[in-house]
Homo-oligomer: 136 residues x 2
DNA sequence: CTTGACTCTATACCCTGGTACCGGGTTTAG
DNA sequence: CTAAACCCGGTACCAGGGTATAGAGTCAAG
């Protein structure tokens, strides 16, 4: 009934060794084993692996991702603390979203306005990103 | 007047060696030198370094960033091609924004609803992120 | 005119996030 | 019952993105 490591790897979009690596690093909980020693994963392991991949693409390190994931295995701390920590993560995410929106705007401006600029002029992309609100 | 490498490093928020590394990797253009061999950077180098840092936080590799930056030093290709490439980058960025918004929503849900969940239940964060639209 | 802060090149090293290969056991389809 | 396909742990290696150190030259203040 449990999934084998190869299933998790394939459906999660990573290699088999990566799953073992994530287990060692505490990103995927160590699953129960068959008498043979084979790991048997629950379905949720696949979602977890996919989450890890997506979060990485967004610039979170594995340590940050472990942190994010630990929010739901909330045995350690009170509900108040959990809310605090989640809010902090949301603030990180908001910052990323704002920065991405500014980059997007700068790129759109570049694409639309720049056919008129000279090749090496001080085009808008960097300037747009350096505007207030983008610096920290 | 020209900035010295230490100024660019400090005001750009990176170390001195990192500036030299970025120069070697073609992320920051090699600046003119004084007779002594000292680099003298224009102000724009600082903006450039800051841009690189921010883009990294958003999950772009240095290769991708070099690519992004090359859009403005558009001597190579026609305006049509530039628009194409910029649009492709915008699509990447839109994907990241969508994913971040879903993560944010999941975290907010977690913070607000979960005080009522049992500790190890299948809480919403992973599920929310696995919903359609988030998978690829 | 020297002393401390800064810069130069070059080489070596480090951490993160994996990937590849090994010799060996297991499971399953024919 | 055997061969293909899968899994095990262990070790070694790799690329990206820097960081550290060494040995030597430069510049600015007193």
């Amino acid at each position: 009934m449990g999934l084998k490591i190869g299933d998790v790897a394939e459906r999660g979009g990573v290699s088999l060794q990566t799953i073992r690596y994530y287990e060692r690093e505490g990103l995927v909980p160590a699953p129960p084993r068959l008498p043979s020693g084979y790991r048997t994963f629950p379905e949720s392991a696949i979602r977890r692996v996919r989450f890890i991949r997506r979060a990485q693409e967004l610039g979170f390190s594995l340590a940050e991702i472990r942190d994010l994931l630990s929010l739901r295995e909330n045995t350690t701390s009170g509900a108040k603390d959990l809310r605090e920590r989640a809010k902090a993560k949301v603030a990180d995410i908001d910052y990323k979203i704002r920065t991405l929106r500014a980059m997007k705007k700068a790129l759109n401006d570049l694409a639309e306005r720049c056919p008129g600029c000279g090749p090496l002029s001080d085009c808008p992309i960097l300037d747009a990103l350096d505007a207030k609100g983008m610096i920290a």
